[in-house]
Structure formats: structure tokens, C-alpha cells
């Protein structure tokens, strides 16, 4: 880069953006993301939640699973319990911090796995010819026939419930929409000129898919996946609420909400906390996701 500017300084005076590293596609996307206040707010909120979850053992003021009968359903700031205590007298702040671990894992892991499986299926359907397309997409349509919440509940219920079963259920729910997004993106890319241009430079089918198709499908799929994370957080809370996710006494926001509901008239603010945590996490992922979508729109630059 440096020698290029020294050769022709007159033709190209050092542009303001020239110093920025823009060697990679993702580097450039990151640069644009930083300039979006909404996305940065989401990122900041997520940073707090993620750091709290990671360092839970060190920052949680109390043991999340140890309660005291004297502390049941206490309001905010009661004897060192900043956010009060739950129906078994356990510290709410500690449980919220620990519960973030489960909620984040349930938000991210199913989406990532579904992105891999659904993405691969979508690519195959989009690039593999008519038969593969019909076969894969019609099977996906069958899954589409059920509302996603119902499907997740049915699968988790059939498998028995628990952390792993919940994850598997959510993954299965997310595969069809992910596959559909990947398939339609692939179908669009497949007919673009640069695919033919790549063939004209001697690229084989495998190399075209690996370089040019995946490179261009990854954008829309990533944006879509990031929007699914907030849905996944909500759905997993729903599963726990129904007793199909993690089991007590594990701290989990959905489960906490479920066990605190009967006490809503006693300490309404305390009972609202897990819901607020779910809401804020979901919003944070949503903000980041829409920022990502805007940042990845290269041609709109």
C-alpha cells in the first residue's frame, strides 16, 4: 500500500480511509458496524451480559442455589440482596448472572448448528440440480407446516426435556428457515455473471461453490442467523418456562420466570427481572443483527 502511494502521490492524495485496514471483507464490515449507534448499543449491552456470564463465579455476590427461608420474596436492596430474593430465598442478582450462561448458550449454540446444517442443505438444494432441490425443499416445507414454538415444544417434549434436548429441539426448528434463506441466496448467486466468469477462468464446480457461492451466501445467512439468536433466546426461555428446558435448581431466566409467576402480586418488580433480562438480551442481539445487515450491504455503500 505504501509504495503505491509514493508512486503516484499526485493522482491519489492520501485518502482519509486509506490508513484503515481494509484487506478483508470482514474488516470492512466491522469498520461500518462501529459507526452505527444502534449496533454499538446492542454490542455494549451484549458485552455486559456476556462478561457477566463468563465471570459469574467471581462476580455473583451469593451462591445462586443456596436459599434461606428467611429471605423468601424480599424486595430490592434487602440486606445486601441488591435485586431482592426469589421464592426460595435465593439471591436474584446471582441467579440472573448465572442464568445468563444458560440463556446465551441456548441462544447461540442452536443457531450456529442450524446455520451449518441448514446452510449446507440450502447450498446443496440451490446448486445441486432439480432433484436435490425438490427433495430438500419439500422436506423443509413439511417442517414449515408447524408453528415454530409448537414444533420446539413438541420435539423437546418428545425427547424428554433438559438442556441438551432443548438445544436439539431449537436446532431442528431453525434448520428449515436457515435452509430456505441459504437456498434462495444460492439460487440468486448461481445466475450471476461472476459465476460464469469464474467458469471462464477454468474454475471447477467445487471451487466455484467454495469460493464464489459460499462467499456470497455467507452474508445473508449470517445476517439471518444473527436475527435468529434473539428468537432462540426467547424460545429457550419459553421451553424452560414450560419445564421442557433446563431443570431446577439450575438458574435459567425462563425457568426463574416460571417459578416466580405465582408471586407476582407479592414482589412484582423482582418477578419481572428474568423477563427483563430475556427482553434486553433479545433486543441487544436484534440491534446488533440489524446493524450487521446494514454494514454488509456493500453495494449500498
Amino acid at each position: 500500500m505504501a509504495e503505491g502511494m509514493s508512486i503516484a502521490p499526485a493522482a491519489l492524495p492520501a485518502a482519509p480511509g486509506a490508513r484503515r485496514r481494509r484487506n478483508t471483507y470482514w474488516g470492512e464490515v466491522g469498520g461500518k458496524l462501529i459507526r452505527q449507534p444502534g449496533a454499538m448499543l446492542g454490542a455494549a449491552m451484549l458485552a455486559v451480559i456476556v462478561l457477566a456470564a463468563i465471570f459469574a463465579p467471581w462476580i455473583a455476590p451469593f451462591d445462586p442455589n443456596k436459599g434461606s427461608i428467611l429471605m423468601r420474596l424480599k424486595p430490592f436492596f434487602f440486606r445486601g440482596h441488591l435485586l431482592g430474593a426469589d421464592e426460595l430465598g435465593r439471591d436474584m442478582l446471582s441467579r440472573l448472572i448465572w442464568g445468563g450462561r444458560i440463556s446465551l448458550a441456548m441462544g447461540v449454540v442452536p443457531v450456529l448448528i442450524a446455520m451449518l446444517i441448514g446452510g449446507a442443505l440450502g447450498l446443496t438444494a440451490g446448486f445441486g440440480g432439480k432433484l436435490a432441490n425438490t427433495l430438500i425443499m419439500r422436506v423443509m416445507d413439511v417442517f414449515y407446516a408447524f408453528p415454530s414454538v409448537l414444533l420446539a415444544v413438541a420435539i423437546a417434549g418428545a425427547m424428554g426435556g433438559g438442556l441438551i434436548d432443548g438445544m436439539i429441539a431449537l436446532t431442528l426448528v431453525f434448520i428449515p428457515p436457515m435452509c430456505r434463506v441459504a437456498e434462495s441466496a444460492t439460487a440468486q448467486v448461481r445466475n450471476l455473471d461472476f459465476i460464469e466468469a469464474a467458469r471462464a477462468t477454468g474454475a471447477g464446480g467445487f471451487s466455484i461453490v467454495r469460493h464464489h457461492v459460499i462467499g456470497n451466501v455467507l452474508g445473508p445467512v449470517t445476517v439471518y442467523a444473527s436475527s435468529l439468536i434473539s428468537v432462540s433466546v426467547l424460545l429457550s426461555a419459553g421451553l424452560s418456562f414450560l419445564g421442557l428446558g433446563v431443570q431446577p435448581p439450575t438458574a435459567d431466566w425462563g425457568l426463574m420466570l416460571s417459578t416466580l409467576v405465582p408471586s407476582i402480586y407479592v414482589v412484582p418488580w423482582v418477578c419481572a427481572l428474568p423477563g427483563a433480562a430475556i427482553f434486553l438480551t433479545s433486543i441487544a442481539f436484534g440491534l446488533l443483527s440489524s446493524g450487521l445487515r446494514a454494514a454488509m450491504d456493500m453495494r449500498g455503500a
Binding site: 461472476f194 466468469a197 471462464a200 477462468t201 477454468g202 456493500m298
Partner: protein
């Protein structure tokens, strides 16, 4: 006579889809000597681009039925295996496209795309391929090439993008460059720059070029020889000066007359009456006969055989303009 770089004989291409087959090309024969520039002129749908894609076997294998012969540097292109085709494409025969914006992958830098092709065909390290990409960008006249190497297609202007695509196409030193209307999407001033660039590179590298265009001015600028296509047939062929200066086929004459150059503003432009035929139902005779002022009865009955109205010229017409009628025409084998 030296061996031709490219020789096409009786090329037929028909697309079989859901409905009636579309006869895109009928009996196309062409010949290109090494280091020569051939322009294929014709309007939209005349088969120019199909001819170009057939040369590289880029037509969809399942739907396109290809008949006839294509030989490139003495090898039968239609008999090549996938592996042979991949080795040929980009290495010996390269292609540039009309829309440099869409023909370059938006998510990779220019340098990465050139380097990818270089490594595929010539091997070597990433650093060596990048150096070659830089060298190519400099050769095609991209200013501050070292910086453009890391630019994405959308960061370049249309002219620079087309230069980058030319650099990509020429990065492995092909003997034959196929150009599919590479200047159509560009501004008039940039158009001339790109044409001059292609001419200079053609002379430097000694490669042959098949250049498809609908712009007679572009053809006059770059071509050694010109082939005029109409409804999937080559209706006239010859040196650029002869064909554009003294057209033998009424269609060529009509094209030249309908040019807007040297026409006073407001004056009527001499358009050719009628429209090209439906390629799903070609007439038995000359495809141009329904629109032709010089048509005779024979034109509707059979497709006119190639006649040679002059040395190195060919026209498919019973009544070539300015030449003796076809009764006296010399058949192909005599020429």
C-alpha cells in the same frame, strides 16, 4: 497459410427447454488466425454471444444441443473432457464480459480474484500470484495499481473495473481472448480507452481476439476482420474495410444506413423495416428475406449458400449488392 488458431465449421446450437427448441445458431463457420482480431457484429438475439460461449463450452450442457466442429489450436473443443476444458479456460482461452460490475465477485478484492486464477493455472505461492496480479494491473493501465489490488469491485469506476477484468483474463497469457461486448456498458470516452488498451495488449501479447459487439464504430476501431450475424447465421464476412466500406449483404448495408453517425438532428434515421424472425420457427429460406428490398423468389425457398464476392470475403445472399448476381458467384471450393 499458417494453421488457424480457431476454426469453427457448421456450428449448430439449439436450446431445448420446455417448449419448442430455439435454433440459436445455424451453420456458423468462422476462422481466426493467430494474432488476428475478429469482430462479430449483430443485433440482440442474433447469436453473437452464443457463438462466443460455444467456443468455450460455457453453454448449459443439458439444454444446449451443439452440432458441428470447433477446433482451437488444433484440438477439438467439443470432444474435450471437463478436466481438459478447465485447463483450457482462463489459461489458453479467456473471456471478458459486458458488465464488469457483475462479472467480478463482489466479496473478493481485485487482487485476490486475479491471484486465484493465476494460482489455479500457473501454481506458485500466494505472494508470487499477487506480484503477477500487480504486474497485470499495471499493464492494463490501472493507476496506483498496488492500492487497487486491495480494492473491491464496487470501489472502482466502471472503466477501472473493466481494466481489472481484462487484467484477470490476460493474467495467464491466453492465445485467444473472447470479448463479449466489453465496452457496451462504458462511457464513450472510456470506451475508446478500453479499445485502445485491448489493441495495444493484443499487439504486445500476439493473441487472437474474438470481439462481439453491436456497435459498428467499435468494430471499425478494433477489428481486422468482421463477421455479420443475423438470426443465428453469419450473413457476411470479410476484412473490416471491405465489409463496412462496401457491404455485399443487404442486411449489412441496412445496419450501416441505420447508424446515427453523420445524421443531422431531426432527420429520419433509415431503420430496417420489420423485426428479426422467431428463432423457434425459422423460415426455410434466407432469414432476412422478409425485410429485404432486394429479395427474389429464390430467397424464400432455400437458404442462400455462401458466395465469394471478392478475395477473402463471404456473403450468404442470392443478390449481393454491387456484385454480379449469384448465378456468377464462385462457390466456396473454388475460392
Amino acid at each position: 497459410m499458417s494453421a488457424p488458431l480457431l476454426e469453427i465449421a457448421d456450428l449448430d446450437v439449439a436450446f431445448h427447454g420446455d417448449g419448442t427448441p430455439v435454433q440459436a445458431l445455424s451453420g456458423v463457420s468462422l476462422r481466426l488466425d493467430p494474432g488476428q482480431v475478429l469482430c462479430i457484429i449483430g443485433e440482440s438475439g442474433s447469436g453473437k454471444s452464443v457463438t462466443l460461449r460455444a467456443m468455450m463450452r460455457l453453454l448449459p450442457e443439458r439444454r444446449a444441443r451443439i452440432g458441428g466442429q470447433i477446433s482451437f489450436a488444433g484440438r477439438d473443443v467439443l470432444a474435450m473432457t471437463d478436466r481438459q476444458l478447465r485447463a483450457m479456460r482462463g489459461r489458453e482461452m479467456a473471456m471478458i464480459f459486458q458488465e464488469p460490475m457483475t462479472a467480478l465477485d463482489p466479496v473478493y478484492t481485485i487482487g485476490a480474484q486475479i491471484a486465484e486464477t493465476v494460482r489455479r493455472h500457473l501454481g506458485g505461492t500466494q505472494a508470487a500470484a499477487r506480484a503477477r496480479a500487480l504486474d497485470m494491473l499495471e499493464r492494463v493501465g490501472v493507476p496506483s495499481a498496488a492500492r487497487r489490488l486491495d480494492a473491491y469491485p464496487h470501489e472502482l469506476s466502471g472503466g477501472l473495473r473493466q481494466r481489472a477484468m481484462i487484467a484477470l483474463a490476460l493474467s495467464c497469457g491466453p492465445q485467444l481472448l473472447l470479448a463479449d461486448e466489453p465496452t457496451t456498458a462504458l462511457d464513450a470516452t472510456v470506451q475508446i480507452q478500453v479499445l485502445l488498451l485491448l489493441r495495444r495488449l493484443q499487439a504486445e501479447l500476439g493473441m487472437g481476439i474474438v470481439f462481439v459487439t453491436h456497435d459498428l464504430g467499435v468494430a471499425a476501431e478494433i477489428a481486422d476482420r468482421v463477421a455479420v450475424m443475423y438470426a443465428g447465421r453469419i450473413v457476411e464476412e470479410g476484412s473490416v474495410a471491405e465489409v463496412l466500406g462496401r457491404p455485399a449483404h443487404p442486411y449489412t448495408a441496412g445496419l450501416l444506413a441505420s447508424s446515427v453517425e453523420h445524421v443531422a438532428p431531426g432527420a429520419e434515421i433509415a431503420a430496417i423495416p420489420g423485426a428479426p424472425p422467431d428463432l423457434r420457427a425459422l423460415p426455410p429460406g434466407c432469414s432476412f428475406a422478409p425485410r429485404c428490398r432486394h429479395a427474389v423468389a429464390a430467397c424464400d425457398a432455400t437458404v442462400p449458400p455462401p458466395v465469394r464476392p471478392g478475395p477473402g470475403r463471404m456473403a450468404r445472399c442470392f443478390t449481393p449488392l454491387g456484385f454480379a448476381p449469384s448465378g456468377h458467384a464462385v462457390e466456396e471450393h473454388v475460392a
